[in-house]
Amino acid sequence: MKRITNLLGLLTRPKPQVGLTPADEVFAENKWRLLRYRARPEGLAFHTPILLVPSLINRHYVLDLMPGKSFAEYLVAQGFDVFCIDWGTPGDEDRFVTFDDVVDGYLGRAIRQAARHAPGEQVHLLGYCMGGSLAAIHAAVHPDRLASFVALAAPVRFKDDGLLSRWTNTRGFDVDVLVSAAGNVPWQLMQSAFHLLRPTLTLSKAVMLIDRAWNDEFLDGFLALETWGNDNVSLPGEFYRTYIRALYQDDGLVSGRFALRGRKVDLKNLTCPTLAVTFEHDSIVPAASAAVLLEVAGAKVKQHLHLPGGHVGAVVSKHAAKTLWPQLTAFFVQHEVRAKAGTPAPAKATEKPAAKKVKRPVPREGRARS
């Protein structure tokens, strides 16, 4: 009976609140901004900040989905100083934003901003999905400010037997024509490519919804994840051209043919402690495509964490809070940069001046487009 009531109530159920962990905007440039989550009331327990780098295609709040299912909230509760990049929504003029602008420019700036007050000016860098690939590229060229690096379901080898690889390498697909005509590559195009990875997924989700509709907690989580899943972002055209041509078509990252602002990207230069996390049922980033990072990275300390679950569910769920998150935290603690003698205790993030209170994510429909 509860199942039927809840299903009928879906029409009037309020939209789930997402991205609720209190955060301040500490830096902004073009459309991207750097968020700093407010420290727990008892203050920070660790000096080295953690910088979260989400994918450019999706909204950043996947890492802060909702209370109890928020990785950012969990890290804050453990006493970390947590920063996250919100890439924002590209305007039409951002069709000219290049891969170098994003990975060398914006990401580098975010790392420097987060590292400013840390001992040794180093951060723990965690990149999720495409964000992990971008972070790996940056880390290979600028390894100096990194205390450790976590690649969370991040593709490194792009040429495989998967649908995305085949699609971008198919003869009929012309990335130059697409970028020249579309400017920013529409999110609808990318979302439809993800749907093709498992065309029955929508039907399967509908059945799962009916099956578990009696559970209010499940419904809230399901709706929050669907809100995020349908709140995608278009990609800057020039960025997309390089991403497809140099990474998907040429597979330049593993082969060492890729260059960032003219500098060769050699993953052997990724020397900080490195952890690659892969998931057993990840249809978007196959485990082999992500785990190869550990074969090519030059770090002495390399760890591989292979967990059950899918690309998103294994990262944002109550199960993740018991399995994945504690292991990531342990990795960060293990590689904490020791403060020099005389360095004051970590400051509370709430004590930092001149920070704007962050706005909640605005649904795509309500977002002003330039």
Partner: protein
Amino acid sequence: MDLWDSWKKGFDAWENRTAALMEQVLKSESVLMPMGALLTATMKAKAASDKAIAETWERMGLPTRRDQERTLHALNQIQSRLIDLEEKLDALEKNRN
């Protein structure tokens, strides 16, 4: 086990089989190539239409959409360069102290 549970079990088995089969079909070049060709043709048509509109604006002596995009992008680049300079100045000042 009630009727729903047994139906769900059957559905899950069907879904797994169908998803695997569809993946094979969609991955085949005979499906991907026409899809790619269709997308490319659509984009070429859009480019031609955009060009015609831009030429109309130009004939009236007005800036095109692309002109405006370039200008806004240039402003964003200037902002980035200014932030670069600020960072360099901060670093110099820090080293001096």
